[in-house]
Amino acid sequence: MINLRDAGATWWDNASKLKRRSLVVSLILFVYALPFLNNPIINTPGSMFESVLFYPIGMFVLLSIGLNIVVGKSGLLDLGFVAFFAIGAYTMGVLGTRTNLNFWEILPIAMGLAMLSGVLLGAPALRLRGDYLAIVTLGFGEIVRIVAVNEEFIGGARGIAGIPTPPDMFGMKFEILNPKPYYWLLVSMILLTYWAVRRMSVRRPGRAWDAIRQDDDVAQLMGVPTFKYKVWAFVLGAAVGGAGGCLYATQILSIVPDQFSLNVSILVLACVVFGGIGNPFGVMVGAIILAYLPERIRFLTQPRQLVFGVVLVLIMNLRPDGLLPRKKREKFESETV
């Protein structure tokens, strides 16, 4: 099979600055213009295309970029990522319905709370490695959901309804029946996050995460404060998850605990692995495909999940490292360990 990643990477490496810039700019414009391209090929029969663009596609892209910091960069298997998404959403829900704060004021609080819970979970859990860490994070995800079900203050099993929409921006109204502004806002958040993660990856934190993923002990011998960087990876991932949850809540307007089940964690992890673990661009592509496909084939009704599963199995067999794996040389990680 042709190596898409290497072909693309070679083109990118050899392209002039102008070519690169124009590609990036046209890609971004294309993404912003997507809600207007309501054509039968990419359309999603059975659900509103603009709405699908926001959730699940855009939302899963954002969450996958966040989880990729944890799983892809630092190699920490987190099966409870939905917890941070839920904490963000509930922060928006509670503060939005009980105070006069608007979305923009709640967003940093939601991210802060998600980060704080990231520290609370990370500080004890990150002393564990591998499978053990995965189990603890899995438990954490469930704890958050079960607390939400049982705590009447935050609505219990009924959840929270009547969450306010963000204030108007640039003359656009945020309304339940008009998902476009939400989508554009989400795309902006994705671009910002992607840019920030890229910046970090090429600097000292990125190098530290690479080292931790490849050999935790040796990283310490080299002078990398591994525990600190692991907690940071966790906290940054949590911040992205919290921001996603906050925006999700303000779009869907009512949240119930069932929306934050283990399935979300697994699906986001699937996006990361499917797209190419560790490569943020690949992860975005993976998330787009995995979130879009079930909606595109919604007209199949019953066999929909079956087709989705078959496609997933087929592609993972054809490209075991994901659609667009990280640089080729890193494959040696799995071979030599």
Binding site: A211, L221, G223, V224, F332, E335
Partner: protein
């Protein structure tokens, strides 16, 4: 520089891996710690570099007790290790691996290139392979990289964990020549080895470690002729005992 271990005990759960060992490494020496599999050699090094916690006893470096200092700060103090099994970052290039050796130093570019030049001079092979992934190197080259990476931190003491393990005889000779060369340049070395013949002929002083205890301490040359060491570690002279 002086590294001193006083009455060090280390447990893995309930198993006592080190039962109160004491040893000293003085400035400019090559000290070797020889012993069979499971004697506690690697545990000793891991404890010195901070990867294993001390159960009791003391590790004193430059007159300071470093028991409580975390591993990543010990690297900054001047304790550098080429770990067992080489510990190369397989997905990083040779150059990136070497740069990791200086991770904690807020180095200026000049110092970085100076140290790189020094390492490349010792190991010209690494320079040829600078852009190659660490995981693609041969065993001997990986060992060179592990030692080179440890040297990047400008260590006061270099801990080497079985540098000859799994290498071809020619390469073993090569690696030990380089170890002597590094020592001649003024780096103090604590060398853990199973290849007692090579280790003893290169080192100044030696300790014999058996099941968590130090059973002998002597000049390395004297141990080469010691009947017990000969039979147990050098594979010759068994008839002198039995």
């Amino acid at each position: 520089m002086r590294l001193e271990i006083k009455n060090l005990s280390v447990y893995y759960g309930k198993i006592e891996a080190l039962k109160g060992i004491s040893l000293v490494v003085n400035q400019g020496e090559i000290v070797t710690l020889i012993g069979a599999n499971g004697a506690g050699k690697t545990t000793t090094l891991k404890t010195i570099s901070g990867l294993r916690p001390v159960t009791s006893g003391e590790i004193v470096f430059d007159g300071v007790n470093i028991n409580q200092i975390p591993a990543y700060e010990r690297a900054d103090l001047g304790i550098s290790q080429a770990p067992e099994g080489r510990g190369i970052f397989p997905g990083m290039t040779v150059l990136e691996n070497l740069e990791m050796g200086k991770y904690n130093r807020k180095t200026r570019k000049a110092e970085m290139s100076e140290d790189l030049a020094r390492v490349y001079e010792l190991f010209p092979r690494l320079k040829e392979r600078a852009t190659q992934a660490g995981g693609t190197l041969s065993g001997g080259e990986q060992q060179m990289l592990a030692i080179g990476r440890a040297l990047m931190a400008r260590p006061k003491v270099l801990l080497l964990d079985e540098p000859s393990m799994g290498l071809a005889p020619m390469m073993i000779q090569n690696i030990f020549n380089i170890i002597t060369e590094i020592n001649n340049q003024g780096v103090t070395i604590l060398l853990v080895e199973q290849n007692a013949q090579q280790a003893l002929s290169r080192a100044h002083r030696a300790y014999v470690l058996e099941i968590g205890k130090i059973t002998k301490e002597a000049k390395a040359k004297d141990l080469l002729n010691d009947p017990h060491v000969k039979s147990a570690y050098l594979g010759t002279g068994a008839h002198e005992i039995f």
